[in-house]
Subunit: 567 residues, 2 copies
């Protein structure tokens, strides 16, 4: 139960490059409009226009400078939303008159006519496939077009990529620590940074390897499987089994009816007290909890999963759950399990598991020992790791706050830098070398070694011959003269493809479905050596430039930097 | 310039309680629908319905347990969006059929008819005024209504309040450190957690005391003043003054025209080299930067604010800026200032100020020494504090990432707990005392002392007589027996008012405008003793319960907790 039927996720998958491409839906969040940008993009547009430079052909790179979470990799996400945005980019009359109010009254009318005519038919976007593993300095996207138009895209693109990539990476990291066999549930909507902080997190956590979400809106929008049963409030809203009026339950196969499921449960509760292992563990269990569990089971006999920590896990929650589960078992239903939402999850899960095994053995209920245990209290990478080290019996983790707000690092620093204008390479200098941009319209490649693992990414100028398999290639650190290495790749993959050709006569990459992107992501993560992936002291993955590009960067740097005079 | 005309912010302000209230607009983000909730709210709704309990009258409190950012106060925000949400709460047919797919196929049809008929006409919401200073455990909102309906509101309410309150508090903390006289600009859209992470942050940072935003969408939606000029890319998109073709500038008063503003600027640049203080500081300044500054000044002669760190602040950015500013001055325009976006902001701002003063003195340009300095590189509370201690000449701070993502603590832990059902008080226990809920439908009051400062908040049962001015009141810590104090308040303020009466015959509080909320917030912050507000070791503000409520909490606690048996 609770898996939503995947619906159309609004993505476009035209399947065939030669057919005319159909219209691409607008961004998921209708608030993503051309006004979702910084004012300075409009003031610059005016200044470019006034200088007659607005149609200068500019190339910008979108990239980040450091992997998040102290790690050595990042997952790229948010591309589909960017493409949806530019495919529908058009300022409305109302938006233009708002911009006019914001700019100076001296701005010329003709500029606003120009703004009204802007679209992205003259913009080209190359990008790495969404869901790919990516690294600092290597462009995630290369955006080329009239400088004034491309500048207007900067803020929304960076906004759409930053959080998407950050939270996808966070999800992938949680998956890495949890291992492949655990069920990972995203429960973060209530603690997310606003409504689509929540919706976005649900989508991108699924992309990064989670199995399901609690967020119904995300389930509907993106076809993500949904999970959820009940809360503490449900438990405490009951007073006791007396208030249950409709007590009958039909057996799963429809062959018989139990007229008093409450009594059946009470009978089992009594038997549980007699188990050798229960002695002294519990006396009277909490009656409102018992009533809540029975009611939930009567409503969802096929999906009985109980939150067992409202009063006391071992003295009340577990015995109450087991009594209801055993009564359900009598009627042919298999209980789904328990959820622990507080306390020592390692200890409690082991104790619960022991009790389930005792029941299986002493009461001869086949399979009872394997009943599911979900844990969900303020989990993060660290606590998952600690639980693994300590030993636990949890099958499924519900993770909220730390996952969706990326608590340990809530922002990724994607930037959008001019690298070429009118075929002139441009560089942005900085006292901080890590902030110097890599100039030129570039291509980038991932070189794979014999064992199928990625070895190094290399950027080169657009017109350089691409690296070839089996060929010896010099890979240079972009800024550190002494760091360089020869690589003979077994396989070469070009990283960026054309996702938006504008009016250029080029094929456009399809926008894959969320499910396809998720699979791509899982495959990409497997092609990384685990020493790059581990939590503690991961090995940095190498990012390099071609020898030719290296020379050019340093030529341009010297050319642009003012020469100081020592005093 | 750049201040947007405040538009209708969509808020409702009926002004008069006796008139029929007009319709309330839906939530700002159209993605905020009844499906923006956790699946378990629907499974519980079904279980309540199946048990015939769905109309049980429940009271829930929405509150948080700990102030964020290591502080001792929080600003409450997000209320308007919650009211907009319930005022328009209605599941569409499409939404209901999605819920049906997600629940078990055994769920009865009549439930979905029931869902289709749900609205919030039978729900009552009491809340503290938006923009108020609030404290842990004291309900921010009290929501009463049919249990199944109120549960459906839990996730969206908590989502809408959590980030709003968190980021408003963060803004208020930044304002506290920056001081009243600095201009604070929110520049976070690109790094925010998704599109309405950005829009929400802009709105709530303004509420918490910022002066303006760079986010055009927020400017349009909420009438927040907008700021922004140009980026590094604008600077590096130029090659040199030669490419400027339209060089004329009319004087501010329209009386004359300078036919070659480029030459005028070059003349001033030359003069600057001759200043005593420039000797050896700069030689040839960067030509693309100079061209960019001139072009920006020609486009916005009335609003010339230049980003001066693309190449080298002291050797290039500042002299280029000053040359353009002096040329503008010749034409009757006053330059706005510079922006520093890297490096040692304290040092650079002081050096820039010195240079401006030299120009004022040596070139006799009145007021030049006071030219504005904006700083904007990865600022946060700590760096503002460090700058203050070090001494700086910055007039205006642009703050992005750390502000809008609440980097130092990206989530607030608001919860939504059942405190009463069918007039029966309910409690949620926990091994962790701080997680025990305070039962009963309550009222709460803020008691003020002689100097006008808030002394303590006190919660009491709904039917207790409220505390009175001048009367001696016993305030007890809710869980710690030994912590209690008598207070004689000078002034008593009831904290919660009715913002949504449902169909009850009660007056509804107006929803104030953003501007009004901001003012209320500023006043509230002033009524707090500064020892509660300081960054280091702030004094906790006291939150208490009445003697009667204290007794009742502990009676119920003993009643619900299972009695252990030591083994």
């Amino acid at each position: 139960m609770m898996e939503s039927t995947p619906e159309s996720n609004g993505s476009v998958n035209d399947g065939n490059h030669n057919r005319p491409t159909p219209a691409i839906h607008g961004p998921t969040n209708p608030m993503v409009t051309p006004l979702l940008t910084d004012l300075y993009q409009f003031t610059m547009a005016y200044a470019y226009w006034k200088a007659g430079k607005h149609n200068d052909r500019a190339v910008f790179d979108l990239y980040f400078r450091r992997n998040p979470f102290g790690g050595e990799y990042t997952v790229f996400a948010g591309l589909e939303e960017c493409i949806r945005f530019i495919a529908n980019f058009k300022l409305s009359k109302e938006e233009i008159s708002f911009v006019r109010e914001c700019l100076s009254p001296t701005c010329e009318d003709a500029f606003f006519d120009y703004l009204g005519g802007i679209n992205c038919s003259d913009v080209e976007v190359y990008a790495i496939a969404e869901g790919s593993v990516v690294f600092p300095k290597v462009p995630l996207m290369r955006i080329e077009g009239p400088v004034a138009v491309v500048q207007l895209l900067e803020t929304p693109f960076v906004n759409l990529i930053n959080f998407a990539s950050l939270v996808t990476t966070n999800a992938a990291r949680h998956r890495f620590v949890a291992g492949k066999n655990k069920l990972l549930l995203e429960f973060g909507l209530r603690r997310a940074q606003g409504p689509d902080g929540g919706v976005g997190a649900s989508r991108y956590c699924y992309m990064g390897g989670f199995d399901a979400t609690s967020n119904c809106a995300a389930g509907k929008l993106f076809g993500i499987p949904l999970r959820g049963t009940h809360s503490h409030a449900f438990v405490s809203s009951f007073t006791g089994p007396d208030e249950i009026t409709e007590k009958s339950l039909q057996s799963r196969d429809g062959s018989r009816v139990c007229n008093n499921f409450v009594d059946l449960t009470l009978m089992w509760l009594n038997k549980l007290k007699g188990l050798s292992s229960s002695e002294g563990v519990f006396g009277e269990t909490n009656q409102s909890e018992l009533a809540a569990f029975i009611s939930y089971a009567l409503a969802f006999p096929d999906n009985f999963l109980a939150l067992v920590d409202t009063y006391d896990v071992m003295r009340s929650g577990i015995p109450n759950f087991c009594a209801v589960a055993l009564a359900l078992n009598d009627m042919g239903y298999i209980a789904k399990g328990i959820r622990l939402d507080s306390g020592d999850l390692a200890y409690l899960s082991c104790e619960a598991r022991k009790f389930f095994h005792t029941i299986e053995k002493e009461l001869r209920v086949c399979g009872f020992g394997k009943i599911g245990i979900t844990a969900s209290n303020d989990l993060n990478e660290e606590t998952l790791d600690a639980l693994n080290k300590q030993g636990h019996e949890v099958d499924s983790f519900g993770i909220g706050t730390n996952l969706v707000t990326c608590f340990s690092q809530p922002a990724l620093g994607c930037v959008f830098k001019l690298v070429e204008i009118n075929n002139q390479p441009r560089i942005k200098l900085s006292e901080d070398v890590s902030k110097v941009s890599i100039p030129c319209k570039k291509r980038s490649f991932r070189l794979y070694g014999k064992e199928g693992y990625a070895l190094v990414d290399i950027m080169s100028g657009e017109n350089e011959p691409p690296p070839k398999e089996g060929q010896r290639i010099l890979c240079r650190h972009p800024f550190n003269e002494s760091k360089r290495a020869y690589v003979v790749p077994q396989h070469v993959e070009e990283l960026m493809k054309c996702y938006w050709p504008g009016s250029a006569d080029k094929a456009r990459e399809d926008l894959p479905t969320l499910e396809q992107i998720r699979e791509h992501c899982m495959k990409q993560l497997e092609r990384m050596r685990t020493d790059h992936m581990r939590r503690l002291n991961p090995t940095p993955y190498k990012v390099s430039v071609s020898a030719k590009l290296y020379e050019f960067i340093h030529f341009l740097w010297l050319n642009e930097a003012p020469v100081g005079e020592l005093q």
